[in-house]
């Protein structure tokens, strides 16, 4: 019976451990995605700038922009240009237009994605509206920039990168205080 108790205790610990492991998979997945660029996930603001990149051959490449409204999000959301030729290692700036076409104050959140996914780790953003939630009053229109730089060590077989932005309506997910604080 003593042996049974030990077995039961160990097995119960295993159950609790595996329940925890299920939740641990969430941060593991995020870290894994950041390392591999899975799903084209990009890290937050980058400090990489034209000055810090030295001694690597720069080249021309094409950056394409795709904007997309999730589900019933009514705002107008587009980039000033659908694609641009850039030089790697040189900081670039592109403007995006947001317009709240409704008569309600709303909050939106943009989620970025780079494809091909393995190019994501070479795409560095110094400034992006996707780092924070955007509150737009009824009828308000704003132009917001993305400032980015492409690491020149990006593999040669990647000739172009697409930067996809999806705009989500998160008004209902926030409390009134949270919205007022934005």
């Amino acid at each position: 019976m003593k042996e049974s108790k030990k077995t039961i205790r160990n097995l119960s610990l295993l159950v609790v451990g595996m329940f925890g492991f299920g939740f641990l998979l969430v941060p593991i997945y995020d870290v894994f995605c950041e390392i591999t660029g899975l799903n084209g996930k990009i890290e937050g603001p980058s400090t990489l700038s034209s000055e810090t990149i030295q001694g690597v051959d720069k080249r021309e490449m094409l950056i394409q922009f795709v904007t997309h409204n999730n589900e019933f999000m009514p705002w107008t959301f587009k980039s000033e240009t659908s694609q641009m030729k850039i030089t790697t290692g040189v900081q670039q700036r592109v403007l995006f237009v947001f317009e709240n076409t409704t008569s309600e104050d709303m909050v939106g959140q943009v989620i970025p994605s780079v494809s091909p996914g393995r190019g994501a780790e070479y795409f560095h953003k110094a400034e992006c509206f996707c780092f924070e939630q955007q509150k737009l009053l009824a009828g308000e229109r704003v132009e917001l920039p993305v400032v980015f730089i492409v690491d020149p060590s990006i593999p040669l077989d990647i000739g172009s990168l697409s930067l996809g932005y999806t705009l989500f309506d998160i008004t209902d997910q926030l409390s009134e205080n949270q919205i007022a604080a934005l």
């Binding site: 039961i8 939740f23 899975l38 997910q173």
Partner: protein, 529 residues
């Protein structure tokens, strides 16, 4: 292997209690095994009725019988009930009946916990099935309940579904703790691990798999619950979560789960083949190592269910090769079964017929699995009827035939009466022909591009779908014959001997005690030499 024949003093209070309370309060492993088996039999007919609705709708193109919303509820609940309500409880029922008798123990290690594990199940399925009668309808997002279908777009009843999965998980975990504790601590003296019957081995490994992955499933549905009700964003992209994460966590549970549903059948079939070939199993230790390696590999192959979500090439290659690697231990098992039959003096009683069909048809399911493991090919097969054909081949003529074979094999031991052999063979041939008629043409329509989970299809698939539906109806109604055979054997079968099958005494401790076994068997531990 020799045993001390047990002496059983009946003091009049050792027998089962009378009436309903016997079943409600029972802590006897045989009673609980019986409860599990009858429960899964009932669920087989409920889940089967749902399959009949699906096949009736798909008998011809266009919408005839049900609306798409209800069709989705049928496919979802058919899957959930067959996986969690039929295959798993049936294996646990067989484990409850056979493990103590095969290792020479008087009962399970934790009899009261055993009672709880069983009675959680009717609660869980009562909740799940009740959602079908609610205004919002039952779960309709597929048995894999991918987010955001099961979160953002789910019917309101999804909370009942989550609660029901939690209870099923708790039942499985408690049952597994009980089984491992019994196997590790209550074996008869002399029965070392490498002398354990293969059914016990297969369940030891299955129980470990269950303990490792059922908590992860519980975590998954907890995350869903929090996303739905508490404003978290595990799977919601707007809040920084990721729906693809759901698929990773689900299949981390889901792939070991598919082996949970087949490994005990491997054990059952091994026993049946050695009994009816009248030869000991070929390569016992390689069987054990194969079981273990299949179980370990099951943790590193999950993403082959989701090749099309967009993964780095290295990831796709890793999951492709690790998946193909599983064919090796599985091939060892199939080889050993065939080698056991080779030059054996085989007789073809019903359990053996089902076991041979298991080996042949499970292998077909294994081969289509290998085809699906090839990444570039999978992009074509993904979410088509080819996948449906594949997993039904491993689950119906695989797991379910394994269970039915085990029921025929041990039924005379349980009831003390033989079943009707003629009817048994009739049941086998009807099942064998109709199961192939049902699932084989699905390969063809799948390769031709018919997608799964739709209530309608393009005209060119009409002939094959009509065949499939006819096969499914025959298979469904044939199982009523099994019910009849079981009841007939309980009521009127001719008496079975202790060894039940010819020269069977050497194949395990369960054949050394009377048929039916006394309510408390092995009160004196037998010794294994």
């Amino acid at each position: 292997m020799s045993t001390i024949v047990e002496t059983h003093d009946d003091h009049g209070h050792h027998g089962p209690a009378k009436g309903l309370s016997r079943w409600l309060y029972t802590t006897n492993h045989k009673d609980i095994g019986t409860l599990y088996l009858w429960f899964s039999f009932l669920m087989l007919f409920i889940g089967g009725a749902m399959a009949m609705v699906i096949r009736a709708e798909l008998f011809e193109p266009g919408l005839q019988i049900v609306q798409p919303e209800f069709f989705n509820q049928m496919t979802t609940n058919h899957g959930l009930i067959m996986v969690f309500g039929v295959i798993m409880p049936a294996f646990v029922g067989l484990a409850n009946w056979m493990i103590p008798m095969q290792i020479g123990a008087p009962d399970m290690a934790l009899p009261r916990l055993n009672n709880l594990s069983f009675w959680l199940l009717p609660m869980a399925f009562g909740i799940l099935i009740s959602t079908l009668f609610m205004d919002a309808g039952g779960p309709n997002f597929g048995w894999t309940f991918y987010a955001p279908l099961s979160t953002t777009y789910a019917p309101e009843t999804v909370t009942f579904f989550i609660f029901s999965v939690h209870i099923m998980g708790a039942s499985s975990i408690l049952g597994s703790i009980n089984i491992i504790t019994t196997i590790l601590n209550m074996r008869a003296p002399g029965m070392t691990l490498m002398k354990m019957p293969l059914f016990v081995w297969s369940w030891l490994i299955t129980a470990y798999l269950l303990i490792a992955v059922m908590p992860v499933l519980a975590g998954t549905v907890t995350m869903m619950l929090m996303d739905i009700h508490f404003g978290t964003s595990f799977f919601n992209a707007a809040g920084g979560g990721d729906p693809v994460l759901f698929q990773h966590i689900f299949w981390f549970f889901g792939h070991p789960e598919v082996y949970i549903m087949i490994l005990p059948a491997f054990g059952i079939v091994s026993h049946i083949i050695e009994t009816f070939s009248r030869k000991p199993i070929f390569g016992y230790s390689s069987m054990v190592y194969a079981l273990t390696s299949i179980a370990i590999l099951s943790f590193v192959v999950w993403a082959h269910h989701m090749f099309t979500v967009g993964m780095p090439l290295a990831g796709e290659l890793f999951f492709m090769y690790s998946t193909m690697l599983i064919a090796i231990p599985t091939g060892v098992k199939v080889f050993n079964w065939v080698a056991t039959m080779f030059k054996g003096s085989i007789s073809f009683e019903t359990p053996m017929l089902f076991a041979i069909a298991f080996v042949a048809l499970f292998t077909i399911g294994g081969f289509s699995g290998l085809m699906l493991a090839i990444v570039p090919a999978d992009f074509q097969y993904h979410d088509t009827y080819f996948v449906v054909a594949h997993f039904h081949y491993v689950l119906v003529p695989g797991s379910l035939f394994g269970i039915i074979a085990g029921v025929y094999y041990w039924l005379p031991k349980w009831t003390g009466n033989m079943y009707d052999e003629t009817l048994g063979r009739l049941h086998f041939w009807l099942s064998f022909i109709s199961v192939n008629l049902t699932f084989f043409p699905m390969h063809f329509v799948g390769l031709a591009g018919m997608p799964r989970r739709y209530p309608d299809y393009a005209l060119q698939f009409a002939d094959f779908n009509a065949m499939v539906s006819v096969g499914a109806f025959i298979f469904g109604f044939t199982q009523l014959l099994l019910l009849f055979i079981v009841i007939k054997s309980i009521k009127t079968g001719k008496k079975a001997t202790e060894e039940v099958w010819e020269d069977n005494k050497d194949w395990g401790l369960e054949w050394t005690i009377e048929s039916p076994p006394p309510y408390h068997s092995f009160t004196v531990q037998p010794e294994v030499k």
